[in-house]
Symmetry: C2
Subunit: 279 residues, 2 copies
């Protein structure tokens, strides 16, 4: 088994790289999969991106991302559904089953968390049949509660599983991203539940750095640089039956400023040391 | 009923004020209670602080704070217990039943969240009999998950109630601080549970400001300045049977730099408008 077995580069980790550069970087680093963001896919062209990745011999672990489903006005709701349908088609063209959804936060000026969460459930009902028809699974990603108001009102894995419940597991799954969920006292039980319910669609790893970055979005760190116990969480994910790809997705200014090939070398080494032995 | 009915100033809100200044400020503003921090109490002297607050006709809503129970080494553990016993005695002298506990995060270099949480449970067992003998209730405060690693590994109200379960409700209660728990999808149910279990010991209000401050500790805001729905959460607390004092505790550089009397005037007005009608 290669040291990079099951490892996938989420393209946000090497933010300054085009998709072409990221694909070539993966090939040079011996990394067999990539999880591209839509902006880099659009830049390359969707069919061209699919061909580029396939021709390089890489798998696509997921597409990042759809979501932002919480608009309160009809125009915003219609625009969100249209954008998510486009994302479903892009995932299909890229040959990945898994489309990440960052579901969105409160609407402008809104404070009613309960109502905003209900809108997520309502929008999913409209989106799931379309995704199903195109063989794409919507992957609900719980985000760290510090992003609840402005990015994602799904804040725990348990809540993601509750929201997924009305739908078939092949249509709506959940993601475990260590950065977002490491603190959750219910994590072990909810990962096991995700496995039992057949919804554990994606596993992303990166660290939680302290102090929290001045721009709180950029506190994601290279595995080993922060507070997360990858052995334990990865073991829980393994015990839940997850055998899929493992993406590394890091938003971090220092890493973005670094040389991409160096980033991939460190990423592969840390993955091999801190994650893979427990996966 | 006065507009400031049940309102209490947590002394951290007017950080630059001595206890004397805070007490006088409350009297001028018609605020009938104060929740002092220990540093300001120590500065004044504990019996002197108790007399000063009593002579001004104010109630003491709580003492902030004990905790930091997660040291992994025997010396650190012994020091933590000693400091918490001192805090219990201070609470007793001040005439408040409620001692807030911010339970502490990971030990230096540690990543084992499960083990650190077990140490909290173990330390509580040692501390509760002492607090009981002095008529003091230990109030477990869940902190926002962004502070889990370095301040408090109690991250949800449900987890706080689980930790409290082995103890009598008069010995170990829980706090609801809107800043820390507003995002929790289980909040409504857990507030109701806290009421049923007789453990709802304290209600603190302040807002969650966006963007998160560069120093993440200072993102607490004046009610109305952030994203929190005080009507809804206050209603849940009321429905759980809470009839106690309501503290305002704000860490915010702009508010700390402002004139204290102005801060108290705004605090009282926002409380009267956004909190009290639902309490």
């Amino acid at each position: 088994m290669s040291g990079a077995s099951r490892l996938s580069l989420n393209s946000a980790t090497t933010k300054k790289w085009t998709l072409r550069e990221a694909v070539d970087g993966c090939v040079r680093a011996g990394i067999g999969a990539i999880g591209p963001w839509r902006d880099r896919v659009h830049e390359a062209g969707v069919p061209e991106a699919a061909a580029m990745i396939r021709d390089a011999g890489l798998e696509v672990s997921s597409l990042c991302r759809g979501g932002f489903l919480t608009a309160a006005d009809p125009t915003g709701q219609a625009a969100a559904l249209e954008d998510n349908r486009a994302a479903v088609l892009e995932a299909q063209t890229l040959g990945t089953r898994d489309l990440y959804l960052v579901v969105g936060g409160l609407a402008e000026g809104e404070k009613d968390v309960v109502a905003a969460r209900q809108r997520i459930a309502d929008r999913l009902k409209k989106l799931v049949p379309f995704a199903h028809d195109h063989g794409v699974r919507l992957v609900l990603e719980p985000l760290h509660p510090m992003y609840a108001a402005d990015r994602a009102l799904i804040s725990t894995l348990g809540q993601a599983l509750d929201l997924a419940e009305p739908f078939e597991p092949q249509d709506v799954g959940v993601a475990v991203d260590t950065f977002h969920v490491w603190w959750d006292p219910a994590l072990r039980g909810q990962i096991a539940r995700a496995g039992r319910e057949g919804r554990l669609a994606s596993y992303q790893v990166c660290d939680f750095n302290l102090p929290i970055a001045a721009d709180a979005l950029l506190s994601r760190g290279m595995m080993g640089d922060g507070v997360i116990d990858f052995a334990t969480i990865t073991g829980w994910v393994r015990d839940a039956g997850y055998t899929g790809l493992i993406e590394v997705e890091i938003f971090n200014q220092e890493i973005w400023d670094a040389d991409g090939d160096e980033t991939l070398a460190i990423m592969r080494q840390r993955y091999e040391e801190l994650v893979l032995p427990y996966a």
